[in-house]
Subunit: 341 residues, 2 copies
């Protein structure tokens, strides 16, 4: 199938491939307010609210390794990453459907663990499981979740709404999930070499937790409401800060300037990165799976968020011509590269 | 993993497994009007309309065989079966998301074929592709589609609404899709044995078409509106008439009596069944994948549908105590068995 006349999927990348496959599609229903290209689709509901819709696929061996990912955590995470996409449009998730393709090597008890995690996430994020499908598979486990939610029309936040000079902010801290993954992979390699050796996970709990059981920041969406702030653009940090700020820049037709020293990372993440000979800033820029919210606000709104320990200003939007740059610790301007993992 | 302490997935069946896995879940949002257990979930929209939501998974080697299923047809069918679920609640589909997990052995051109079929179905059924996800997979192709649509509140049709003495009806004809599958599998076996032999598909076009490119009966939903008929209960025929009438009986707390001689099957289907030494009625009862609508109406509505060539009365609902029966060609009462393939 890989003759010179055909193209390899990997050569296009996920975003390029989706663009190529969906470029011929047109929108026919007036209720389809926004289609492919943001964290969620927007569907018309009424004068007050819109519906948000998003979907994510998790494939064993690609997105997770059952050697070290407990099924309960996996179920939780599968829901959280969908809820996170709804948060990224400033909305609240309400319903999900869950479809599973699973090989018969999994006993019912394994699926019960998975669904216990899904149920826990449904409680945590106040969403209802309203449907799904279940199929045999020749190998492995594939989880497909679709979430819908609602957002008030006057606070819908798209990727495309940023303006030049808007302040770029991020919730929580970045890089921990990626370092958690490094720990888990290291100990898994040790275990594969000698199954009598106990994994050394002590002291890395917070990092591992961020990787295995990430939280959707629905609390931050609530906080925006309390502070009276409507972000001008927003995305959740799934591929890494660099890749995700690129999406905000591209959709808003702008450039950006980030400050390395402002980017929030906790000490444990930095120390562990150094232990692994990884530059800490690389974890934040390219690690991904933080599921924090990356957003922009108008300068005049800064007073409303200044000093809040959950919200950190990390730069500002510039004109497209200024490019996308990072001011590093030596005060030098470095062009950003998007490089998800 | 298959020690005496664990349970095998296959031992429960799809419906039993879903019930076991989701029995602990509770509904938390007042907008979740109906959850798991019908063709679609029902979500509150406004006084006039509700939202319908459904999802289906297609797995290579389980639901389709790429030896004889063209990717364009597969894409079309994947959309049609979701639209069919929305039709089964008397609604109209408006948006879909499409997620694909695919091994890198598929060239981009293969995915373009798949998406051409999805696009054709979007045009035919007037739905918009508004999102999705794409992932690598170690093997094969998995397609997960979620559809949402709308239905006027006064015509929502659940599986649970039938009453004793309601007339059972079905759209179109049954069994053709199953015989189409038998033809394709027979010719595939011949081809595998000797790849120089041309497949004998001539004359079987209509059957093969029903299998490869089924239509969702959105035209019948429109017809109900024109005739001023609101079915009391409805389901689409995906698992086979026997299995699907069981769902209507179970959800409505009733029994049924079907008449073999009334069940609509075209001559080609009957003749081909005989050629394969299959009893024609078995195709209709247990074949499945017809994607016709099986529904019940009040007796007083019968005048509105009588004589319409698209709508065939095949029996009536009875009390639960009377059981679920078929009156066969010899006028004998035979208990129905649900037996999807």
């Amino acid at each position: 199938m890989s003759s010179s006349k055909t193209s390899n999927i990997d050569s296009l990348g996920e975003f390029g491939l989706i663009e190529r496959l969906t470029s011929d599609f047109n929108i026919k229903n007036r209720t389809s307010l926004l289609g492919v290209g943001d964290d969620c689709a927007i569907i018309e509901l009424n004068d007050k609210e819109s519906l948000l819709m998003t979907t994510d696929l998790l494939v064993e061996g690609v997105h997770f390794n059952l050697m070290y990912v407990p099924l309960k955590h996996l179920g939780y995470k599968a829901v959280a990453i969908n809820v996170s996409d709804i948060c990224a449009m400033n909305g609240r998730a309400e319903q999900i459907t869950v479809s599973i393709a699973v090989s018969s090597k999994f006993p019912v008890e394994a699926l019960e663990e998975l669904y216990a995690g899904i149920n826990l996430a449904c409680d945590t994020f106040h969403v209802d499981l309203v449907g799904g499908d279940m199929s045999a598979a020749y190998a492995g486990l594939t989880i497909s979740i679709t979430a819908i939610g609602r957002v008030d029309n006057n606070i819908i936040t798209r990727r495309s709404g940023a303006n030049s000079k808007d302040i770029i902010m991020v919730t929580g801290s970045l890089g921990a999930s990626y370092m958690g993954l490094q720990i888990l992979e290291r100990e898994n390699e040790v275990f594969k070499a000698n199954s009598n050796v106990q994994p050394e996970l002590d002291g890395y709990d917070t990092l591992i937790q961020r990787q295995l059981k990430p939280e959707a920041r629905h609390d931050m969406v609530e906080l925006f409401g309390q502070l009276g702030v409507v972000p001008t653009s927003m995305i959740d940090v799934s591929d890494g800060l660099a890749s995700d700020i690129f999406h905000l820049c591209a959709k808003s037709g702008l450039g950006c300037q980030l400050f390395e020293e402002k980017i929030p990372m906790d000490d444990k993440t930095k120390l562990t990165a150094i232990e692994f000979n990884i530059s800490p800033i690389t974890c934040a820029l390219n690690g991904g799976e933080d599921y924090e919210l990356l957003f922009t606000i108008k300068q005049e709104d800064f007073d409303k968020v200044a000093g809040n320990p959950n919200l950190t200003p990390i730069g500002y939007m510039t004109s497209k011509e200024d490019g996308r740059n990072l001011v590093d610790a030596n005060n030098e301007l470095i062009p950003l590269k998007a490089q998800g993992w």
